[in-house]
Assembly symmetry: C2
């Protein structure tokens, strides 16, 4: 779909869409809030007892965010769906009280469409969250929300990710009885994240890496996952994302002085849970970069830092904290001589079964 | 706990426990079947409508196996629990009809114990699957199953993994009305996997790698995950595991001719789903090793192969297919001058919050 784009500057498309994010979030609030409110009202009435989330790639990280948000706000048991349960194993499921949420920028991947249809057939209420309100996924779902990110032309998704996160936050906030107004603070925070020079230092330090580890916990874990994917897609580094606890249960053995680690810190209890992880990483001699607000930086010692704003609600912070990692991925790619708008071996919409 | 072990041969403990696996599986069938049958009968009566699985490290891969098995056999919505929902965010959950299964070799990690207690407080039925029937986790759970792997001394878990998988398979088979007898075929298959020379060729080819990608789909995905963890823990390579579909949604861009890929193939529809993934990997010039039975090997072209037996039920195959990857991880580690029984930075039981 981006064959018509003629770019003289590598990564120009990706950078333009990174910069567009504050406007996308503001526009979504203006145009989609009422639609999301009506979906939330329907869900309050339907009273699902379980939520399953189906997604791939960047949208899978939006699904992980949704899982933490639904579990901590609504208290419902929540899981990520395995699409092969339907596409490979043709399972019969008992989904009578289950809400099935499918998240996809394009709304076109066959496995997502097929498993959503099967979930509905097995009794689930189905909801699509897409950037393509006329897509097969949106059409086949009982309800749908459009994230209104506008056409996304860069292969590496950026604005569709933050727009998905805000739509999910609005849905859960309205579902739990809130009014969605806290999201109005996001646009200003985002605007200050988009153009930043401190990323240049980190990109320079990572100029020759083959591997990088990203670490998060709780609400900062989807940011660690999405940051790693951006670096894999655009800079072709072997980026591995871990929850801090999972890292300690084995993988930490591979960390040494040649292994850079990017820790995405968040406020509150999460910083307490990440502190012993950072200690262990220092024991292993890791080169650590912490992404987070000053108060969290003060508790997690690191060689380099990417500051994010103080005082953002932990549940909204993932929408802000991913931005420096998007900028970093684009900068690393161009520094290393790649065009992140034309990553090797990828096209904009991926179809899998 | 293994400070008393004096090993002259690196990896002697790990190799001994790999070789012990057929006997462990046979013994578990002899001594634990009735206990598992009574738990299954209780679950049939309790009729949970949702299942959550809580685990870390190797046990997390047993949990992924359990998720596929429960979804495809029982049709219940099933998810992996996020322990930070309780330990960091103190969530109130509505778990009245939820079965919470905690899986842990040691049964001692504080986050697992605390979140299991919280799950019970929120209404869940709790079941522990451990190798330590007297552990805090087993004691705090309403029901428990002992996998009876015997004391595991090697830091890199092997026999506790396959013993957990068999216990889970027995539980789900009995829960769904089966008699568990199909597991009796496993011991012979396992015995033929334990000592094998073809692994030497793969270990030699991987002598100098820094990174490796492992790929599975459906029931072969937990094997890809666990194989990657074994290589991270013992050989310190950056091993990244993907579902074949997820790999295509972005990460495939980082694959090139310098990147070895280990594809864990399985019978049935899964081979159909992996075929286009292997095609894409060939397009990217990857060096591919396929793990699988001859019929699957015939459909997935590869530079090198690790054969596994033909005709094993796809749901039992993960118990057999992990063995060559355990042997490979141990061989790679010793070839590279490491002692997999004393991996750097790890101890046998990991405590996280």
């Amino acid at each position: 779909v981006n064959t018509t784009a003629v770019n003289t500057t590598p990564g120009a498309l990706m950078l333009a869409e990174i910069r567009e994010q504050p406007d996308v979030l503001a526009r979504q609030l203006d145009t989609e809030l009422e639609r999301i409110r009506s979906v939330a009202a329907h869900l309050r009435a339907a009273r699902p007892t379980t939520v399953l989330l189906a997604a791939r790639g960047t949208s899978d990280h939006a699904a992980i965010y949704a899982k933490y948000l639904i579990e901590t706000t609504l208290g419902l048991p929540c899981g990520l769906a395995s699409m092969s349960t339907f596409t490979a194993y043709r399972a019969q499921a008992r989904y009578e009280n289950t809400l099935w949420i499918a998240i996809s920028q394009s709304g076109g991947s066959p496995d997502l469409i097929q498993s959503t249809q099967r979930a509905a057939h097995c009794g689930a209420t189905t909801l699509a969250i897409t950037n393509s309100p006329d897509s097969p996924l949106a059409s086949t779902s009982q309800m749908s929300i459009s994230i209104e990110a506008g056409t996304e032309r860069a292969v590496a998704a950026t604005k569709s990710y933050t727009a998905s996160l805000q739509a999910i936050w609005l849905l859960v906030d309205l579902w739990s009885g809130g009014d969605g107004s806290a999201a109005r603070t996001l646009t200003d925070h985002m605007r200050r994240q988009v153009d930043r020079d401190d990323v240049l230092e980190v990109a320079s330090r990572y100029r020759f890496i083959d591997r990088v580890i990203t670490v998060g916990r709780g609400f900062s874990y989807p940011t660690a996952r999405e940051g790693a994917l951006k670096m894999m897609e655009t800079s072709y580094v072997g980026a591995q994302a871990f929850s801090g606890a999972d890292l300690l249960h084995g993988p930490v053995a591979m960390v040494d002085t040649a292994c850079p680690v990017l820790v995405v810190g968040a406020a509150g209890m999460t910083a307490d849970l990440l502190a012993p992880v950072v200690d262990r990483l220092h024991d292993r001699g890791a080169d650590i970069c912490v992404v987070g607000p000053p108060s969290v930086q003060a508790r997690l010692p690191a060689a380099i830092r990417l500051l994010t704003p103080e005082g953002v609600d932990e549940r909204l912070a993932p929408i802000v904290q991913i931005v420096p990692l998007q900028v970093l991925a684009r900068q690393m790619a161009t520094d290393r001589g790649h065009d992140p708008d034309q990553p090797r071996g990828l096209s904009k919409a991926t179809s899998t079964r």
